[in-house]
């Protein structure tokens, strides 16, 4: 059985994927992961997750064009330039 190992370096930091171990059960996986990822105090927490339990999502189709939800959906440079020019022209009267 393959266990994915996530480690946390310091309190408050995210758990990051570190690697994986092969072990028949959680207890063995823990012993193994402690040895591989915590021998010198480099981790303060480990998450051990059976690989089969991970639901992988990697399809990010954007067929409805949801750009309006994001900053890259707005290009203001040209309009801003025009607005400034108009304002300057109005001031010059």
């Amino acid at each position: 059985m393959i266990w994915e190992v996530f480690r946390q370096e310091r309190k408050g930091q995210p758990f990051e994927h570190a690697g994986s171990v092969v072990a028949p059960d959680a207890e063995f996986a823990e012993a193994w992961a402690r040895e591989q990822y915590g021998r010198r105090g480099e981790s303060i927490g480990l998450w051990l997750v059976p690989r089969d339990a991970i639901h992988d999502v990697e399809d990010w189709a954007d067929e409805f064009d949801l750009k309006y939800r994001r900053v890259d959906g707005y290009s203001i440079k040209a309009r801003l330039k025009e607005a400034r020019e108009r304002a300057a022209a109005a001031r010059a009267g």
């Binding site: 393959i2 690697g19 072990a23 028949p24 010198r40």
Partner: protein, 296 residues
Amino acid sequence: MRDEQAFLEYVQGGGQVETTDWMPDDYRAKLVKFIEMHGNSELMGVLPEREWILRAPTLQRKLALTAKVQDEVGHAQLIYRVAEDLGKPREQCLADLVDGKAKFHNVFHYPTKTWGDVGVIAWLVDAAAIISQKALLKCSYAPYARIMKKICWEESFHILHGRDVILAMVTGTPEQFELVQEALNRWWGPLMQFHGNPIPKEDDPMYVWRIKSQGNEEARQQFLEGYVPQIWELGLTVPDPNLRRGDDGVWQYTEPDWAELKHVVTGHGPRTEDRLSFRRRFLDQERWVRDTVLAA
């Protein structure tokens, strides 16, 4: 993305790949070959040092050497795990290793004659290795790059340990100093061969696929730039009369013996057979442990 050309452009642009992503067969094959050789080298690399655990000069040195051996076997485990996810089971890697079908680094085919050799291995062989390994932190195969973080971190401790061993000897008796100089003379050739022949990186498939992020000669230059001054400042002599740093910052040296490199890594080194038969014996003797654990 299922197009080899697009994949190539992706990795050459700094893109990284995960285990479950599609990858060209040639990329997967090159990765497995590279990673397997790395794993083999970690596993075989402990043997020259293991021979000195019982003969270490002090208890402190014995403990440090034991810890280093333990770290490196651990690295082999991590690395074989990555190879396993790419389709080559660890058992197969080990079988190919002991059958002489797979390679490991040139430096692990040589004898460890004195405690001076242990120091030179721990300092300079590890220094050469960490230069290659640091370049793998940017490997296009992300799971390999991730485990390299832990490996590099532990290797830095190994280099410091090696430097400490060397410093203790060069500040000791004239005989101790001489042991270091003799060991350096023995190891210089293999060290200069370590990063491989200077083929242009664009012709190196491992670079083309961005498995490695630097060329062989770049790595060797980095080694010379970083370590020759450190060797010289201790009063040691590098056994190459042509070694010097050019005005352009490029190190010049006597052409390494590439025929020796080839001969050694294809299984004809002075200690190749001894060390493989040692591995073969233990692999056999400890099969029951693996069988029991994996069957639990």
